[in-house]
Amino acid sequence: MNNIKEIVVVSGKGGTGKTSVVGALASLLTNRVAADCDVDAANLHMILNPVVIEEKAFIGGKKATIDLSRCTGCGTCREVCRFQAISEGYVVDHRQCEGCGACYFLCPAGVVDFSSSYAGSCYICRDKYSAPLVYAELLPGEENSGKLVAMVRNEARSLAEKSGTPLVIVDGPPGIGCPVISSMTGVHVAVVVTEPTISGVHDLERIIDLAQFFKCKTAVVVNKGDVNPDYCKRIEEYSTTKGCTFLGVIPYEPRITEAQIRATTILDVAPDSPTSEIIRVIHKKLLTILEEL
């Protein structure tokens, strides 16, 4: 059970090409489970074209609602709510409500309802390579994306256990906050896909620090490398000084969009392109990293 290795692909900055890279790697990795942990903007299934086998409901956090017909207007709830979520007319703004339950537990009249509801779905699928894929869709604007990420990872791991698959590859969310932390805790390898721009470099430092905070083995890929060769070089040097494995540089490739439109990977659209070439190299290097774990 503990032989399952997990790779997470993250970026810090959004839109650097995480999902395109994960899609291509998932097509090369023969014995794996794929998991899309970017639950509020999931895209991997659009490349891997899965058949959904099972849909599981995700129940979100609780929210307070005040029964105005029984409310005595004492004001306790407004006093104890630290999120300014209750109006003068005792209506709870669910945008502000963090579901702490203070109003529910402290209302002297007991007129606050505190319950959770459906907040999204987790899909267990078989993708077009006949390999398992787990992804999820959070309802727009919902909270608790970190919990849904944990659900996706648990489902992916249990699929891997059941089928004896040794590897889970996770498409992570952008940023460094709650859902990223949830995607990264306990994984073995973090692959950072960055781009040679001032923002990409700025965000790279923070995501590498986060990966190392979680003691993941960290590797770096530069996408759209030819946009700024100077930054590209600096990223390579920086990654090496931080003890990361530098996996390679993917050139700017307009056919990535074509691949998305055809719902497939760049390896299918342009198998002989330099991009496909370097992705195959990255795949090999990753296998070596996994063997050395």
């Binding site: 959004g14 839109g15 639950v39 994306s145 001032i198 700024n228």
Partner: protein, 355 residues
């Protein structure tokens, strides 16, 4: 009773501390131009953009306008549009403040290059157990919704600060008054004045810190009165976006003509529509080769504020931290179109027609 979730900590020494490696040390302080004369700010009508409900939760008694730039998908060009819009408005004489709510990965300052004048710690409150008073009843851990307190038999509860939302419920429910509070730093706020006198605020979430929303709220609390707030939203469509966009007068959704861009755009648009926020699109890296996006726009009767064509020179200037309309002035008209459309949709004069 104190109602605020968190306080600004002490003002820290001003200065620019950009990561341990200083990879980007060149991106810091540029000198700032002398004060430009500023035009009369928004007319009172600007407050009536979304009059459906009273804005009791905000601090907005002034005549500011909140413009949020969002996208759903990351990397579509939010920051590019936001900084160029801010720059354009400031050059047109408007008083502009840039509020970077992408606290996980703030980038706007790399382009607007503010000289950081103040750094303030951002803190949340966490419980501390007064061990002498605790009778191990477990009331606090039973009621805490975030599993931030764990009771074990015979010892005071363990506190997990990283899980705590600072709601204060445990303090209220403890029958022995055995819980006090302490501040916990989750990040910092940096403020300064950048290019074209643009006042800039950005939050920097500590690495390893999960809770972005309190810091986002803190950035928004820094909004100055009587100016245009250009608010750079985080990617995604979950609670950080809602916290950013909640009291917007207008949302600009930046998208790209790709299947991923469209998929995530549609989720972000439904968030804004759910919150009844007027919105328009900016189509970035436009190639005209993606009919599904055009069909989506038509089906939902969305407004396209402007289109920025695919141009490798934009990517190259962006990579260096340049303002696009300054490096490639031919794109100024696109941002002007954006502003005109914003004025049309919001029924507001933003720059008084002057360019």
């Amino acid at each position: 009773m104190p109602v605020r979730v968190w306080d600004a900590g002490r003002e820290e020494e001003a200065g620019w501390a950009e990561g341990p490696s200083g990879l980007l040390k060149n991106a810091s302080a540029l000198s700032v131009e002398k004060d430009r004369p500023t035009r009369e700010v928004l007319p009172a009508s600007s407050k009536n953009v979304r009059s459906a409900e009273p804005r009791w939760y905000g601090r907005r008694q002034d005549r500011s306008m909140n413009i949020v730039i969002a996208s759903g998908k990351g990397g579509t060009g939010k920051t590019t549009i936001a900084v160029n819009l801010a720059y354009f408005l400031a050059r047109s004489g408007q008083v502009v403040q840039y509020l970077d709510c992408d606290v996980e990965e703030p980038n706007g300052h790399l382009f607007l290059k503010p000289r950081i004048e103040s750094q303030v710690s951002a803190t949340v409150m966490v419980p501390t157990i007064v061990e002498k008073k605790c009778n191990f009843c477990g009331e606090c851990s039973t009621k805490c919704q975030y599993n931030a307190l764990v009771s074990l038999p015979g010892i005071p509860p363990l506190v997990f600060p990283g899980l705590c939302h600072g709601c204060g419920l445990c303090i209220h429910v403890c029958p022995e008054n055995a819980i006090a509070e302490d501040k916990r730093k989750i990040g910092r706020l940096e403020k300064g004045v950048g290019l074209e006198n643009i006042s800039c605020v950005h939050g920097v979430l500590n690495v390893g810190e999960a809770m972005a929303v309190p810091l986002i709220r803190k950035v928004k609390d820094c909004g100055l009165d009587n100016c245009v707030h250009i608010i750079d939203a985080p990617p995604g469509t979950a609670c950080p976006l809602v916290a950013t966009i909640g009291d917007a007068d207008l949302a600009i959704m930046v998208t790209e003509p790709t299947p991923f861009g469209l998929h995530d755009l549609s989720i972000a648009v439904s968030v804004a529509e759910k919150l009844s926020i007027p919105l328009g699109l900016v189509i970035n890296r436009d190639t005209n080769h993606f009919p599904p996006l055009e069909r989506y726009i038509e089906k939902h009767s969305l407004d396209v504020f402007t289109r920025i064509p695919e141009d490798r020179r934009i990517a190259e200037h962006y990579s260096k931290g340049d303002i696009i309309i300054s490096a490639l002035p031919e794109y100024t008209s696109r941002i002007h179109d954006l502003v005109s459309s914003m004025e049309r949709v919001s029924g507001t004069t933003i720059i008084g027609g002057a360019v």
